[in-house]
Amino acid sequence: MSRIMKKKSMKYEIIFSGFGGQGVLFVGNLIALAGMYQGFNVSFLPVYGPEMRGGTCHCTVLLSDKEIASPLVYEPGYLVIFNLPSFLKFIPRLKRGGLALVNKDLVKVEEIEHYETLCANKKILWLPLNTWAEAIGMPLALNLCALGALNKLLGLFPEEILIKALREMLGKEKLPLLEANLKAYRKGFEEVEAYESSLTKS
């Protein structure tokens, strides 16, 4: 019964959090837009306050096949964490059994007090986002790497939908950046794909 119920309602609650300048709001807006093109009901709520480059910044994105009432959620099912302050702020709020994609390059387990209790009953997937972004020569595109990884895991929308949303987000002026962003997206996607297939082999 519960399995049927799950199929009936699809709702993804995702919080993206990191430093200002890591593209947190861009990627949040992008996933909401792509979600809309895919036919989901969506909402995108940026935080909002006197934020600055280097300060922390987060946004909440909801994708659902039902009407979305509240754009705020205390316990999201998914987290995408780009830096240590975000990890400490949001991991306690992650739903039981929820999944966090965490940037391994900026969050070190040894720097976290009570790591075991903090992450009990929560799934953490460590991704070297900065390393990936640098490997493809796009050090600023770690946000797209994260999106690629997330979409490989959740299967929210196909790549052509993402391209459509990315085109609109970049606008005419920044359209030359489309290929580079796409490369970063694919990097994240493929890395997780390789990781998954290594799991099934072993």
Binding site: M36, N41, L45, P46, G49, S70, L72, V73
Partner: protein, 359 residues
């Protein structure tokens, strides 16, 4: 043809609604969190032959609105709480002169400069006394981007219909969040202003628009005329309700807070709790009759009012219910915004308690 769907912020939806409603002039002064409205108007109005002007202050902006309205154009301004206070002298004159216009308040925390996060602290100001004297606005509180678009467009028609300012009362959550908006063409009526607008007196007797009436009987008559107009506005009352019978508790909220409440109510209903929901869309005139009828017909015993302020709308709920049921006020002063999970707990507490304070 299918309507175009776009992902927009609440404030962008307001601006798009204004354009759909036939807005010709915009005057304003920048303030967070509503700057996307002037941004869009500055791009869109001039090519349509309209006027966009950034004034030197809110006081100037509202007086420019007054002038543009007096000559018969569809005109708007937008601001946020502190800016709205600066405009209040102009509001009183607009009401007194029976000049139509649309005013958007994207509320932020107060009093004073307060903060820039969401609040509903200007409820009283909007519905009770936008300016000095006995004046009232017709006040709409949208809770989604779609509603912000449609109500703003409709506001231009209703402002002309009643010759009265109409306020769109929103806040920073709805203002800054993005969600899909269906850009559908709306049927907004054009209403002739030939009978009163100051358009030049060639071939007709000169007209005067004034608010000074030193004859005491004349001023009383004038106020009664305005009062009758406010009573007529009751035709525009809109609300949303969710209660089919058997509800033990009714949750009342407006604007962004209503969304957070609705989430909590839907979750509780799915779990079998008997919780109803009522959302006024017009805040003035307040849907008093509808609310009272709902509570009496469904025999609802407890009513909780949730607000992002220290408890304002709860007074209108109390006036509507006239002692029916037990009323509780749950207020969240800016800028600590509750999550749906918090509200769920509060509603459950209320369901389970046999006794709680009466307002």
């Amino acid at each position: 043809m299918r309507n175009k769907r776009v992902l927009v912020k609440g404030v962008e939806a307001v601006a798009l609604g204004a354009l759909e409603g036939g807005c010709e002039c915009y005057f304003g002064y920048p303030i967070t969190p509503q700057n996307e409205i002037p941004e869009i108007m500055s791009v869109e109005l001039p090519p349509r032959g309209g006027v966009f002007l950034q004034a030197e202050s809110e006081t100037s902006a509202i007086n420019m609105v007054l002038g543009a309205s007096a000559v018969g154009t569809r005109v708007m301004t937008s601001s946020s709480s502190p800016g709205i206070s600066l405009m209040s002298e102009g509001f009183s004159y607009l009401i007194a002169l029976e000049l139509p216009c649309v005013i958007v308040n994207v509320m932020r925390g107060g009093p004073g400069l307060g903060g820039i996060e969401a609040s509903q602290g200007d409820y009283f100001q909007a519905v009770k006394a936008p300016g000095h004297g006995d004046g009232k606005f017709l006040v709409f509180a949208p809770y989604s981007c779609q509603e912000a678009y449609e109500l703003t467009a409709k506001a231009f028609e209703l402002a002309d219909k009643y010759r009265n300012p109409v306020m769109i009362l929103s806040d920073a959550i709805l203002g800054q969040m993005k969600e899909p908006l269906e850009l559908k063409p709306l049927k907004i009526k054009k209403i002739s202003k030939e009978g009163w607008a100051l358009t030049g007196a060639k071939n007709r007797p000169a007209r005067v628009i004034r608010s000074l009436f030193l004859d005491s009987a004349e001023l009383a008559k004038r106020n009664l005329t305005l009062l009758r107009k406010y009573q007529k506005m009751e035709r525009e009352i809109r609300f949303e309700k969710m209660a089919e019978g058997g509800e033990k508790v009714l949750v009342v909220a407006f604007g962004s807070m209503a969304r957070i409440c609705k989430e909590a109510v839907l979750n509780l209903r799915a779990k079998g709790y008997e919780v109803g929901f009522f959302r006024p869309i017009t805040l003035f005139p307040y849907p008093k009759k509808a609310l009272a009828e709902l509570v009496s017909s469904q025999k609802i015993k407890k009513i909780i009012v949730f607000e992002l302020n220290c408890g304002q709308m709860v007074e209108d709920v109390a006036l509507s219910l006239k002692g029916m049921g037990k009323l509780i006020s749950k207020s969240y002063p800016p800028s600590v915004i509750p999550f749906p999970e918090d509200l769920e707990r509060e509603i459950k507490k209320c369901l389970n308690s046999s006794d709680f304070p009466r307002v």
